[in-house]
Symmetry: C2
């Protein structure tokens, strides 16, 4: 057990630092820093080979299910880290890399907001250090090699040749582009390949993205890439990326992408922003190597699991924590009055107006997530992300309601006031994390790996979503059987579900009851080491809205870029 030494405040400068200084604060020596421009860097994985210098207490930030009114989970995570640092505590942020799809679509960038942001926000929201591009490229190299093997009818030993009708590996692009959801490739003449149906997924949903996020280093990366199943041979045998001969070249393409990226908060604290799987259609967690680096260096590692606790939170615990052998000390659940009111039935246009009845009703939604936290054995701090026009009466109502439940609720004004506005939250979270010191929460999971796939999915739906049960389509039943026949039944489940509801129906806000979840397809990600269960209408390639954010994005003469954040 490590002792937390609270540093004198003066030890930590408040404000942007040189990237080598940020690395030093993270305990990483200059040798292991590869600068990318002046204020971002990659950290060599050799930096992981040193004894821990921090207490390494993991703090999971998640949220209620998002609404159009906004919750500010990333902003609250950043504010929390800033607040801790102002208290003289060594805090490390571990966040995901934003995808260009949402940046140009509806949601905007993923670097916080107001006075709780990451630096350099423009770079992080665009190409950053190129990880996502490298992942798209590795994905599409495998696709090209698969189609090349179809074209030349290449035979893979006893397995035989790939059956073009049974290729399950699609292509990937970091873009919202609905026209690429269902395509036919290989048209033209004989020299132009074998015609077959195909799909493009957004890169954030690519198995290669999940593998980069979960790999422990280059060797593990290559092994996992080699295990990817791209489809079946004409004799029914599974064909892998290793069979096709693509895994080594894919690993080479990902040589730098596997290294964590270091940036900083507006106030100069270290932030490891690495890997970007979506939390609705992928497992939603930043990388294992970044988390390990954070745990080595920081006393508190603040990491965010995307979207609602039912989605990113569940997968963080059941997939990432199980794989890594770590478990958080405390869960921070982010909510806003507006979002709670929407969960209580208020329409988005009136969510900013006082409406205690809707607020009270919306708390039932929060309750479900609190129940799940209890299920996982996690202490909770509820963080109320305060907006300027939130009323004291409504804030007090939430405080009182949480007090009745025996849960600590703390207001956070990171958006408006930076770390200064998150001091109380920082204190509360540190206290909660430290309180578990004698008896850290024992890892508890929603299901055991040895259970049948359908049972695991059903347990998630019942326990975490509050569903009555799960309806599997005939296709999903077939998928489950096939995955178990291939010997991959023992993997955890990566649920693909709408983030807007606890159910698989986006319009059911609040705390829905008496519902079934429908699973229409199960995809094996043998390299990532999970099976993706697609529920409802979830699509793995988003579309652009009628008026995409891209219309507002512009490079200014100063070199700054306008329009990357929703509120720009």
């Amino acid at each position: 057990m490590e002792v937390i030494v609270t540093l004198p405040q003066s030890a930590l400068p408040i404000g942007p630092q040189g990237i080598f200084d940020v690395a030093r604060e993270l305990g990483v020596s200059e040798d292991h820093v590869e600068p990318y421009g002046r204020n971002k860097a990659k950290i060599d994985l050799a930096a992981l080979a040193r004894p821990a210098s921090g207490a390494g207490r993991l703090v999971l930030v998640s949220a209620i299910n998002p609404t159009p009114a906004g919750e500010g989970k990333t902003t609250t995570s950043i504010g929390l880290a800033m607040g801790m640092r102002r208290l003289g505590k060594r805090a490390v942020l571990c966040l995901r890399e934003p995808s260009l799809g949402p940046v140009f679509g509806v949601k905007g960038g993923g670097t916080g907001g107001g006075r709780a942001t990451l630096v350099p926000a423009d770079d992080i929201n665009l190409h950053f250090t190129g990880d996502i591009h490298a992942i798209s490229t590795a994905h599409n190299l495998l696709s090209a090699m698969v189609d090349n093997a179809c074209h030349f009818n290449t035979s893979f030993g006893d397995k035989g040749a790939i059956d073009p009708r049974q290729v399950t590996w699609g292509r990937a692009l970091d873009m919202n582009d609905r026209a690429l959801r269902n395509v036919v490739v290989g048209l033209g003449r004989k020299a132009d390949g074998v015609p077959r149906q195909d799909r493009f997924d957004i890169t954030a949903a690519s198995e290669v993205m999940a593998i980069v996020a979960l790999a422990e280093g280059p060797e593990d990366l290559e092994r996992r890439l080699g295990r990817i199943v791209i489809g079946q041979s004409t004799s029914g045998a599974p064909i892998t990326a290793a069979d096709v001969g693509a895994a080594s070249a894919m690993t080479a393409l990902l040589r730098d992408a596997i290294k964590p990226n270091l940036v900083q908060t507006d106030e100069g604290g270290p932030a490891l922003v690495h890997a970007g799987p979506f939390a609705n259609i992928a497992h939603g967690c930043s990388s294992v190597v970044a988390t390990r680096l954070g745990l080595l260096s920081g006393d508190y590692v603040i990491t965010e699991a995307g979207f609602g606790f039912d989605l990113g939170g569940e997968k963080f615990l059941d997939i990432k924590c199980r794989t890594m052998g770590v478990f958080p000390r405390v869960l921070v659940l982010v909510a806003t009055l507006r979002a709670l009111k929407m969960h209580g039935g208020a329409p988005v246009k009136r969510a900013a107006e006082p409406d205690e009845k809707a607020l009270e009703a919306g708390l039932a939604h929060l309750d479900k997530h609190l129940d799940s936290a209890v299920f996982f054995g996690l202490p909770v701090v509820v963080a109320i992300n305060v907006f300027p026009n939130d009323t004291q009466e409504e804030l007090a109502l939430v405080d009182a309601a949480m007090k009745r439940r025996g849960v600590r609720a703390v207001r956070c004004e990171g958006f408006m006031r930076g770390g200064e506005g998150a001091l109380e939250l920082a204190e509360a979270v540190a206290t909660a994390a430290d309180a578990t010191d004698g008896a850290p929460p024992a890892p508890r999971f929603t299901y055991e790996l040895a259970e049948p796939l359908r049972d695991k999915i059903t347990k998630i739906a019942r326990t975490i979503y509050g569903a009555d049960g799960v309806t599997f389509t005939a296709a999903a039943e077939r998928d489950a059987r096939r995955i178990e026949e291939l010997g991959h039944g023992g993997v955890p489940i990566c649920m693909a579900k709408t983030q807007l509801s606890l159910s698989d129906e986006p319009t059911l806000v609040g705390r829905p009851t008496n519902f079934q979840v429908t699973v229409r397809e199960i995809r094996l990600s043998a390299g990532a080491g999970f099976a993706v269960a697609l529920t409802g209408d979830m699509m793995t390639m988003p579309g652009l809205p009628r008026e995409p954010s891209a219309l507002r994005v512009k490079l200014l003469p100063t070199g700054k870029i306008r329009g990357l954040m929703q509120n720009d």
Copy 2:
């Protein structure tokens, strides 16, 4: 007129330097250097706003038409720059960025070979500083916005809505992937877009790549991107990227890609490696901004135009030099004995064996390029890239043949001996460049811009290829008419032709006569400012061979990558 000061040899260290030292040698101050890792950097375009410190003599390196035996044009360019530097001359290399297509296909990387290479070769051959990925992304953002406008049937003022049957803007990927040459997108349900036929080009052939290569800075970039014609409206009006509202976001995506990349030769000399249009299916030249930076700083700027002089060389002069308002002082034509023998009829397996008859016959091929140099008014140095087993007899035969033609031929052993092996070539090239000092070659072009499109194409085919004339298909005739009706008839021509022959038929080596060139399609690149004439069977998306190089690429435990170069 500048006076060339030959530096004492000791002034220039021979061997890899820190990237800031390389920048200093280039006359770029530290403020303008954005490091990417430890040994590559981007140069801020603000570095262009200073008075010239060098004589800025442009040296164009081109070659005979490539054969499977190899010519080593890039290797010779690098060796030449190394040799000049060893002579104490300020030489700057301006080269193109390699594409992943050839790296994983047949050709291998593009960073030279033997002892005449660029550092860091692995990085340059893979993602480098992310330029090509940024270009693919900008290209595909426009594609997604076009299909989005089709989906929502968005109307663009008086022009009306896009006609999905008349979209000419495809998608792009930096990959050899024949299955993507002809695709159908937008299949599925109503929510999945409008079904239509589409194509993917390799990014090196994207108009966005050409625009990045030709733009003078961010403003010019945005203007050119806005001019891209993506297709027609239902009323027949041309729809541009500006109409679709994509040009500003594309410019933002290219904010860093427009900045030249600085690396170095093995011996420490500055190399600006920036933009990578192919020379067969695109205009084949490195960026205008990199060339301008080189001309500001260097006494000799050594730049390479891809493939044979008929392709990259012609387009370098007729497109890039015309656009920039510069012209080279001297042309270096690279040839090897093996390649000459193949042009003289020797099969590839026997090209390494002595065969004076084939060699003599192959010189007719070289003669055609020498004629073209005379046409352009350019002094020529023929560089014989020497292989270890080349015989003295054959080398002497070439010397004598060149002497008869009044052309200086110099042997270059950069591959085997680095700069030391290119001293004679360096001396010869510098002498030739300096000799033009009183009367630099006046810009001469193959055609005038005001001529009709078909006449311009015909002049290139007759003058540079030696064709009898050009056959235009009915489709190409229609294309030409349409481009002229739109008011874009005054653009230069970007020929898309096989690099393997002076003709449009890849098997016709040597100096073919009595042939017609067939143009089957003409595509307008209004943003790049040229029209692409597709001849023969040229495809804008290559395929992988049966055994792609990707099979041999591997990340080694040292962090080095094996298999990126053909001879690895």
